[in-house]
Amino acid sequence: MKNIFQEIISRRSLLRELIAKDLRARYRRPVLSFLWAFLSPLFFSVILYVIFSVFMKIEIKEANFLLYLMTAVFTWRFFQEAVSSAATCLMDNRNLIKEANFPHYLIPLSLVIANLLNFLPSLAILVFFTLFILKGVPLFIIFLPAVLLMHCMITFGLALIACLAYIRWRDTKYMLEILLQALFYLTPVFYSLSLVRQALSQKAYCLYLWNPFVAILSFYRLTLLKGFYQAIKLDVHWFAWAVTMPLIAVAVMVIGFIFYFKNRKYINDYLAY
């Protein structure tokens, strides 16, 4: 693991170029360029606001429903875009891989970072909306970087596994789509946790809580939404989550790297195939 860190540091020029390449591909042609990273979530928020706060007026006990929804939608979008674009990244960049020997995991890593950079403006808009609607943020916001880091580690680990799997089994792309969709509905994006608790048996609910994305999403809400902690204090086990989630994040990444080092020698073979 230490060697990997050293390698990333020593190849930071390449990592930076790869990130720049991805962002350039996204924002070079549009006239408004990187401004879209702000505008796109902003317009989306306005649409959500009009539908859910003006037309439907949905209310849940955990928090303001608009903010509840926005925290989930934005963070989920980051995760989904990063993983699904990373799935085909080795294939998309096979020209680079065929040219020279370099640590190939830098490609999915660069994609996750590029998506993160693209996600940060959304996060800023989210904070802006919470400040505007809830007139403040909870003290837990100091943990936001840690939550973000965990999120990124899990995303990267899964991206690494997905891209390696994809060059071997091209079905991965479609399976991943289904998997991500299932995960999306298994995560309390637009329904409240207490609803789930009422619907499921104690055991099933426990199992449900072990979905890391439930935890990650709850962490985001905890750090961003004032009053969220008080509202669902009794529905979840914060302490257990706080202890296990970092471990799970590290584990996912380590599994990704193990998978990478096992397959590294064949990456080029499969790309040529």
Partner: protein, 553 residues
């Protein structure tokens, strides 16, 4: 050269997943530091796989690969290029992939852009580039990065001549700097020219590794066995019927090509007194002295000088190989060669000179200054529409009694291979004889040639009537004309004691020109074919008596 092994392959095999295809099997070879090693073989023989394994892009399934130092690979025209990025951004991305950090690339950026000659295109997206431009960028990046081993796959065959030469020059620089190169190419002459040793692969196995001539010979044998046509092996012919070297491209003039293993330092034109000159009189002697420096020891060089008219018409290009001079080796150091022309048989006008120092098969020059030098031939202005000024027997100064006679070139241009006859002169005939008075139309360069023009039915005497004859190359280049007053006779003879035209097809024209009316009374234009052959392969139109003086370092 140090004898350290820089690449060691032992029993290397490559089995591609998931097809299970063995692209390489049991390949063992060592490359010594400072060598240029070529890999040859048919498509699918495993060349690219081998290069990929040396470059660490592919992992061998079996065996071991040991290399020392930093490696760079250039595969398929810089495959890592991204179309949506600009040339400049691609330099950074590519450089980073090849292991350079940002500061190193920034330092070398101007060198890379300069070498690539892409100019303002460097800030255009790569999608707008041609294949040649991509190649230029790809080669420029690796040529400017630091490395110990360079691996180039099949790239040197693309790109324009000038850039190819620049690449070769760079490759020779690398060799001098002690770098190690592994290359592939399908051009066997080129491989023999560039490489120190060559490996031959067939069906993934190493068939031969060593002497380059032997490797190429075995490869040719292999192809021949499979029924491929490989062409004749340049059998020396004793008689040259046509060298087909009649023109050069003036747009290439001023370009300097070659690998620069030998560098032409100075070129001087000297007149009969030994003074430097830029002009001379038609038919005067001329000496061209070339000083050069050899940066490497090279094998079997030959020296060449070529003269062109200002519009690209090839006048004369002898070289030491045509003249049978062989220099087995040219040692490192300074030397010179001198070409003495006894008499420059060129018509007045501007001329260009190319100077070249070639390898044995003229694959890639060591140094080649294409049309870089100029000189002026002075003389009677009315000769300037023709190419040559060959001496005609019986006339001390040619054309003696016709200094003011200008046949109408317009008519000549418009009536190629046409016959104009008039009742005033009646039909005419041309007979061409050799020194034994045998009628012929095929002559050896330098042979006596007698043209006999006869108008038997000419009626009246006109002091303004001239008989005109003209030599043309079959590509319609006007070589030389001659006129002679008809007087009271109806027959005229023109004798060239030694017709210096070089091998190829020529056409002879003749007619009766009336100076008062400024028109041809009759004209038989380019109807008489004349064929020249020669024992030497000298290029161009006219043979100029010469000798070489070569001082090797």
């Amino acid at each position: 050269m140090q004898n350290t092994k820089i690449i060691e392959l032992s029993q290397v095999g490559k089995n591609y997943q998931p097809s299970g295809f063995w692209a390489l099997k049991d390949v063992s070879l060592d490359v010594v530091k400072g060598e240029i090693v070529g890999i040859i073989g048919r498509n699918g023989a495993g060349k690219t796989t081998l290069l990929n394994i040396i470059a660490d892009v592919l992992y061998p399934t079996q065996g071991e690969v040991k290399t020392r130092g930093r490696k760079l690979g250039l595969f398929n025209l810089g495959v890592g290029f991204q179309d949506e990025l600009t040339g400049r951004e691609n330099i950074f991305l590519n450089g980073a992939i090849l292991g350079a950090n940002r500061t190193e690339i920034e330092e070398k950026l101007s060198g890379v852009i300069g070498f690539s000659e892409l100019g303002n295109f460097i800030d255009q997206p790569l999608g707008t580039y041609s294949q040649g431009m991509r190649l230029r960028l790809g080669f420029s990046i690796i040529a400017n990065l630091d490395f110990d081993i360079l691996i180039i796959d099949e790239i040197l065959a693309v790109g324009d001549l000038l850039f190819q030469n620049k690449c070769f020059e760079k490759i020779m620089d690398f060799r001098r700097a002690g770098k190690t190169l592994v290359i592939t190419n399908q051009n066997m002459e080129l491989m023999e020219r560039i490489c120190d040793r060559i490996a031959l692969l067939e069906h993934g196995r190493l068939v031969y590794f060593g002497e380059k001539e032997e490797a190429v010979r075995q490869y040719r044998e292999l192809l021949a066995k499979e029924g491929f046509f490989i062409g004749s092996t340049n059998a020396a012919e004793s008689i040259f019927e046509n060298t087909k070297k009649w023109a050069d491209e003036p747009q290439n003039w001023g370009k300097i090509l070659g690998t620069k293993e030998v560098v032409i330092e100075k070129v001087a034109f000297k007149n009969r007194f030994g003074f430097n000159c830029v002009s001379l009189k038609s038919r005067a002697p001329l000496r061209i002295k070339v000083d050069f420096t050899a940066l490497n020891d090279i094998k079997e060089p030959h020296f060449g000088v070529a003269i062109f008219r200002n519009d690209g018409v090839y006048c004369y290009g002898p070289n030491t190989a045509f003249d049978g001079q062989v220099f087995p080796i040219l040692k490192k150091g300074r030397g010179s060669f001198t070409l003495n022309y006894q008499s420059v048989l060129l018509a007045p006008g501007d001329y260009r000179v190319s100077i070249a120092i070639w390898d044995k098969n003229e694959t890639v020059a060591f140094d080649y200054h294409d049309g870089c030098y100029k000189f002026l031939v002075k003389g009677q202005a009315d000769l300037s529409n023709q190419l040559l000024n060959m001496p005609l027997a019986g006339f001390s100064k040619f054309p003696s009694d016709s200094g003011k006679i200008h046949p109408d070139l317009e008519t000549l241009r418009n009536n190629w291979m046409q016959k104009l006859e008039s009742p005033d002169t009646g039909p005419g005939s041309l007979r061409v004889y050799n020194s034994l008075h045998e009628e012929k139309n095929k002559f050896h360069t330098g042979e006596l040639v007698k043209l006999s023009v006869f108008f038997p039915e000419i009626k009246k005497y006109d002091p303004e009537n001239y008989i005109w004859v003209g030599f043309y190359r079959d590509d319609r280049i006007f070589c030389q004309g001659a006129v002679s007053k008809m007087g009271h006779t109806n027959k005229r003879e023109f004798i060239f004691r030694s017709l210096p035209l070089l091998p190829g097809e020529y056409r002879v024209s003749f007619g009766v020109w009336n100076e008062r009316e400024k028109k041809f009374l009759s004209l038989y234009h380019a109807l008489y074919p004349l064929h020249m052959v020669f024992s030497k392969g000298d290029h161009g139109t006219v043979y100029l008596e010469h000798n070489w003086k070569v001082r090797l370092p």
